[in-house]
Symmetry: C2
């Protein structure tokens, strides 16, 4: 008999990683969303409950990031059964930590466990991307790929899907500070509606190229020289109160680099090992608190695991 | 007794490689410049002769790309002797094949052979860059690094110097067709004096990132999907008569990608092996001839050697 119930967790993610706007992301195993799915006898999707959401989320399955992909899955696979979905948010909305991608990733992994045949990695990504697109208007996959597959992922195209794992530099940890302020992704995108200078683009391209080579060569000195965003960060930083102080605090602790996670307002830093990571995280959190915010602080290896089944159904 | 005379060859290079404007280049061992240096008893640089130049080149050592770095070398190393330099051009001026870089690279390698102590790789690059800057106004190092060190080189900064070798995909060869037309590098730069759209930047960044990952993963399918220039090529292609036909001819032969070499007008294609490379090169040459040009055609492994001593002094 087929499985009746499954529960999956998908991690938060750091989108862009300073150098790869809309292209790169990595998983953060310290926090994420959890989705539990109970098999229904009818081919439909029902949202049973959404727990721990800091704002009301859509209960219409076609409009919820966790379930829009499942609606497509039922239709395309001609399933005779359906999914009753319970979403438990671990990631705050509009935090820049890839909450939409996390819900969509956890959901497809839980749903897959109820299928007779497993999905391909490509299908998993594609269905989850449908969910993410519902939330963000345009989904780029730079949060979704690491939420699903873990580690650092490069997404250079979603049609056709082109995802490439990038080796994480050994021992590097990510410190992420999330101030309790919400940034509308659309607002964060609006500041980018301008022309750009070729010189800046070449500079930023060099950072991206140097970052990738540093990851492949496992070269922390080179990583430190290239983990920066001179193109997008200067436009978005003014939207994040306290950003400059937080960044300076991280760099003063010897962080390899520090920038905005996704569209913000969360700020991440890559650090040489767990001890340096904890020191950096404390300094970043203090700087955000000094700017008047409550802060959630997370520490995770850069090479964190992606979405997986959890709990009794593991 | 110190060596009295040395002769060095440095290869032509393909700058940009479609994806890495001002950042990437690779060596082409089929053609290059040769510099012969005879020791002088006085600490000065004299240009004895310039052979095979298609236009007159500066005979003032401070203004010639092959010798400007040597003038600095004598001053900074407090040399008691000097260099009489004979330059033999193999690379046509304004061909987009990195002729300035090649002369500068060959010259420093020949001069180094007369020194009591070897230069560091960094010094070699730095002195040669002085020469290249004389010719091109602004030197980026994307031709010079592969001319000196061979293979594919990534230059993300020249101050401080940051050069990283990128592994060449196995067995890939470069077909390069040089039409007998000259393109002024400054004119090719002038068409870039405009604003750019972020969307195009992201697309091009994805091509760069995908290309680098493909090189590190030795993945030709991925390479083929990313070896393209959607940012610069559309602006420069109209300056090169026959470009579209040449590119289509290369792609029709199954080339992995085809674009402008450096600032043009030479056009290069990366191909799966020597046989495919020769077929592609023939098709590209025919297309340029049909457009009314004489053509020089070169075939080389992408992983070609850099500058080295040649001849009796090897």
């Amino acid at each position: 008999m087929s499985r009746q119930r499954a529960k999956a967790f998908a991690p938060a993610t750091v989108g862009n990683i300073a150098v790869g706007f809309d292209l790169l992301g990595h998983a953060l195993d310290a926090v994420g969303d959890t989705v539990t799915i109970q098999r229904l006898d009818t081919p439909e999707v029902v949202i049973a409950d959404i727990l721990n959401a800091d704002v009301p989320l859509p209960m219409d399955p076609e409009k919820n990031t966790a379930t829009a992909g499942l609606v497509r899955l039922i239709a395309e696979k001609n399933l005779s059964f359906g999914f009753e979905v319970t979403i438990e948010k671990g990631i705050a909305l509009g935090s820049g930590m890839g909450g939409s991608a996390s819900s969509a990733a956890a959901s497809i992994v839980a749903a897959e466990a109820l299928l007779d045949e497993p999905l391909s990695a490509l299908e998993r990504f594609d269905y989850a991307l449908t969910g993410e697109a519902v939330a963000s208007g345009a989904a780029h996959g730079d949060n979704l790929a690491p939420a699903l597959f873990g580690g650092i992922q490069l997404v250079t195209s979603i049609d056709p899907v082109r995802i490439t794992p990038i080796p994480a530099p050994e021992g590097v940890v990510c410190a992420l500070a999330h101030p309790h302020a919400r940034l509308d992704t659309r607002k964060a995108r609006a500041v980018l509606a301008r022309d750009f200078d070729l010189h800046d683009f070449i500079h930023q391209s060099g950072l991206l190229a140097g970052f990738l080579a540093a990851c492949f060569h496992n070269d922390l000195e080179m990583l430190e020289a290239h983990l920066a965003d001179i193109l997008i960060e200067p436009l978005r930083a003014p939207l994040i109160v306290g950003f400059e102080q937080v960044k300076q605090a991280a760099l003063a602790e010897g962080a390899l680099g520090c920038s905005i996670s996704g569209a913000g307002p969360s700020v991440f830093a890559w650090c040489r090992g767990e001890e340096a990571g904890q020191r950096t995280l404390d300094a970043m959190s203090t700087a955000f608190r000094d700017a008047g915010f409550e802060v959630d602080a997370y520490l995770s290896p850069v090479d964190a695991r992606g979405a997986r089944l959890v709990g009794e159904n593991q």
